[in-house]
Subunit: 109 residues, 4 copies
């Protein structure tokens, strides 16, 4: 239960970082270079919001969802880590943390 509450917060923190990063990328001069980042942040924000919701509501599907959510977070973290912007760095970190916690919780009984 304690673990679940923490996971919910980690998911929503990641969603917030992704929403912020997508907007900030759209405002960069070199928006062309940020296409993949915007695209992945859009997906990752939605996955993390849903992962947080399913966990908070103790859904029977939350563990299967976490497995997929971890992959989306990985993809977003990998793309964000290619860029030097502070919002990308923060987003990559939030995504890695969320991916780790998704894998950890989905593996627990």
């Amino acid at each position: 239960m304690q673990n679940h509450q923490q996971h919910v917060q980690i998911c929503f923190d990641c969603a917030a970082a992704c929403e912020h990063c997508a907007t900030a990328c759209l405002r960069e001069d070199h928006v062309m270079m940020m296409r993949d980042c915007i695209r992945l942040c859009r997906d990752c924000a939605d996955f993390c919001k849903m992962c947080g919701s399913l966990t908070a509501r103790d859904s029977e599907f939350m563990r299967q969802f976490m497995v997929l959510c971890a992959d989306v977070c990985d993809a977003c973290a990998n793309e964000c880590s290619k860029h030097d912007h502070e919002h990308c760095r923060a987003c990559a970190e939030a995504c890695r943390r969320c991916a780790d916690d998704c894998r950890h919780l989905s593996a627990s009984a």
Copy 2:
């Protein structure tokens, strides 16, 4: 900006409390008495997730949304405060905090 980050967290905390409360209400023996609570928690969870997202992405519509979100949070807080369950008490508190912060931020320039 600092205020916005804090608001995002308050919104997502409220969404988590509402998702949890709706599930817990469905598991109560007297689920009949919890209908309104489940209904309002369902709406409030969605409003607060969206409010957190719009704030994190710095949407031009966030202030108008906060005004409406505050009303939804009030309605949910009022219903939850009629019940003695710990999940209802926690949800009412999260809703009131979110309503206050929505009103505070939407009124700021």
Copy 3:
């Protein structure tokens, strides 16, 4: 592309049926008997909205998501088909159609 447009509509139709069914279940006299239906409709509505969105935006994660979405739709259809309410019958039908289309599309190259 044609198939994708159709899938988006099937997903959103299912989401609408689930949202409607959850509300209608909450209004039934024997809400106690409808707990599982409400719980599953809540999850299924969110999964189908996300499945429709990922498909409409041509997300690289849509096929993996469809596999999981099909399972959620099955679970909701199975529960809804236990009840005689018209909203449950309509929801079960929408869920089965969505599960089929998720499996069909996720298997296509």
Copy 4:
């Protein structure tokens, strides 16, 4: 009720058009020119999904939400109509239809 079912479909059609338009804009060569379109499609997709959901679940907040949703649809339609891409034209049309229906329904008793 008939009107509500139709509104749900109009909302979800608009959400699908916005999700598709945002992705297509990100793939255009002149992505720089499409920033505002991507930003507004992102918001409008979320508003329309929520408007469809609130209507399908017969939420007490749906009318107030429609008023705001109509403004978001207008803003997205105005931006999309500045561009010649087929996805922008289709999105503008879906947004106008949704804005009209939101205003029509929110004004009805």
